[in-house]
């Protein structure tokens, strides 16, 4: 399973992605959580706090003049899995966490680290590990193929006009972008839901299959204020219960399971 979470800024992408990653790991999956946002986000929601780790520029080398392929590739001898062993950080529940780095005020450009990040994700073997990705808010990054690893794109939608319109724009982008890189499935999760009318508005106005609904929950707010995971702050909260249900739903839909089922049926 490879899932990318997208949506408007503040929709709750990191908070949801962080919990889903840890819940999958608690079920015994090997989970890689990846953050392609240059601002602090997923590491905080995983319970790691703000992480300054950067994939070193030396992880990639520039291709020779006239050589085909991308401008930078992982340096000779370094496989995607090997790079993960080196650069991914341990997070709670056995999740591994990878980010290319965070923007500093007067920091070095992160271009090579970004290339390394992309090359690692592109080079992972097809089924293993499970990848849970957190993309920056807004509609810009999916343009550049940042969610290329994902078989499922989950649009996180708060029940506001801006949240819903952003979701529609993202869904349109995801379906009209490079067709070969298009994810197999685009679904929505309603976030910060206060009542049935919120959920219904998200359902109707996005036109997307809403696979989860996370209620507005003061526990999430408290966790965000402290910079912790809601799993560590309030395991019994309504939001966590909803995220357990969402994790079940996402896991049940994994393409590999569907494929195995199809193959099983054919024999």
């Amino acid at each position: 399973m490879r899932v990318a979470f997208v949506g408007k800024g503040g929709a709750g992408k990191s908070a949801i992605a962080g919990v889903v990653a840890r819940l999958l790991a608690r079920r015994g999956e090997d989970v890689l959580a990846v953050d392609s946002d240059p601002l602090p986000g997923l590491s905080v929601s995983l319970g790691l706090g703000v992480v300054e780790a950067v994939i070193p520029a030396a992880a990639v080398e520039e291709k020779a003049e006239g050589e085909p392929g991308p401008r930078f590739r992982l340096r000779r001898g370094l496989t995607a899995s090997g790079a993960l062993d080196r650069y991914a950080l341990p997070a709670p529940d056995g999740v591994r966490f990878l980010q290319f780095g965070k923007t500093r005020a007067s920091g070095v450009p992160l271009m090579r680290s970004q290339w390394a990040f992309r090359q690692i994700l592109d080079g992972l073997p097809p089924e293993h590990p499970t990848v849970i990705g957190d993309l920056p808010g807004g509609t810009r990054q999916p343009f550049f193929g940042w969610a290329g690893y994902a078989d499922t794109v989950v649009v996180v939608v708060p029940p506001t006009s801006a949240g819903i319109l952003s979701a529609r724009r993202l869904a349109k982008l995801a379906s009209t972008e490079d067709a070969t890189a298009a994810p197999s499935r685009i679904v929505a999760v309603a976030s910060q839901v206060r009542d049935g009318s919120d959920l219904e508005r998200v359902r109707q106005r996005t036109g997307l299959d809403v696979v989860g609904s996370v209620p507005w929950d003061g526990h999430v707010l408290a966790a965000e204020r402290e910079g912790r995971s809601v799993l560590d702050v309030a395991l019994e909260s309504p939001a966590v219960a909803a995220l357990v249900a969402l994790t079940d739903r996402l896991a049940a839909h994994r393409p590999t399971a569907a494929l195995a089922h199809r193959q099983g049926g054919a024999s």
């Binding site: 408007k8 601002l39 703000v50 923007t103 810009r140 506001t160 952003s166 204020r225 910079g227």
Partner: protein, 244 residues
């Protein structure tokens, strides 16, 4: 006067920018509100509605498809890609497109370059930027007079704002105002003020009616003109036009 509104995603940049723009216009300024975000929603918070907001975005995007004529000048950019919002605010969507034509007044400049290059004369310009600190790395000294940094009392937002404030100081981008949004209690207030000990922090109390305006795609100024949060932003508008 030129103001840039920046901050992490979802902190309320657009909502704040819209209330500021309309308040300044009510106080007599000629206000141009620039939506610089590639995911532009400023029209909603200004009160022109979802449909008109989407129409403006569609216009901007059809530049990429070749279905829309380019504007020959800055003034016509605001005409072509703009719309009249309440209180006399003129809104224009100037966000970057995918296939800009070099040198074209309407798409060849990034919003950050536009702010530095164009003479706005007596107009008050409020630029609502994309989330994150990228904008601040691209803005040049002199491009704006005031940076309004919006922050909510969460660990992530404060951390982003800290980085943003460093950039504003380092690049001398103008006067910095920190707007603490969705402040619920003293602990919230303290989380923000301790992070910015040397900066003016303006607190906007959490207000259900502002959240409600966002839900239904309305301008907070229209739905809840007397909300404490709206009043706090309006008071800020007064101090922005006064000399620092």
């Amino acid at each position: 006067m030129k103001l840039a509104v920046v901050g992490k995603g979802g902190v309320g940049k657009t909502t704040m920018a819209a209330v500021l723009a309309r308040t300044l216009a009510r106080d007599g300024a000629t206000v141009v509100a620039l939506d610089c975000d590639t995911n532009p929603n400023l029209g909603i918070s200004l009160g022109i509605g979802d449909t008109e907001t989407e129409r403006l975005i569609g216009l901007r995007q059809s530049l990429d498809d070749g279905d829309q004529e380019h504007a020959p000048s800055w003034e016509s950019l605001v005409d072509v890609f703009g719309s009249d919002a309440p209180d006399g605010v003129r809104l224009a969507v100037v966000s970057a497109i995918e296939k800009p034509e070099p040198g074209c007044p309407c798409c060849g400049l990034s919003p950050e370059q536009l702010l530095r290059t164009v003479a706005f004369d007596e107009q008050t310009v409020i630029a609502d930027f994309e989330a994150g600190t990228g904008t601040l790395t691209r803005l040049a000294e002199g491009a704006v007079d005031v940076v309004v940094l919006v922050v909510v009392p969460t660990a992530k937002s404060v951390e982003v704002a800290r980085r943003a404030a460093e950039l504003v100081a380092e690049k001398r981008l103008g006067r910095l105002v920190v707007l603490a949004n969705q402040v619920r209690d003293d602990a919230d207030r303290e989380l923000v003020t301790t992070a910015f000990p040397d900066v003016d922090v303006v607190c906007v109390p959490h207000d259900e009616r502002i959240a409600e305006a966002d839900r239904y795609g309305l301008a907070p100024l229209d739905l809840a003109p007397d909300a404490d949060g709206v009043r706090a932003i309006a008071a800020l508008a007064g101090t922005l036009t006064a000399p620092a």
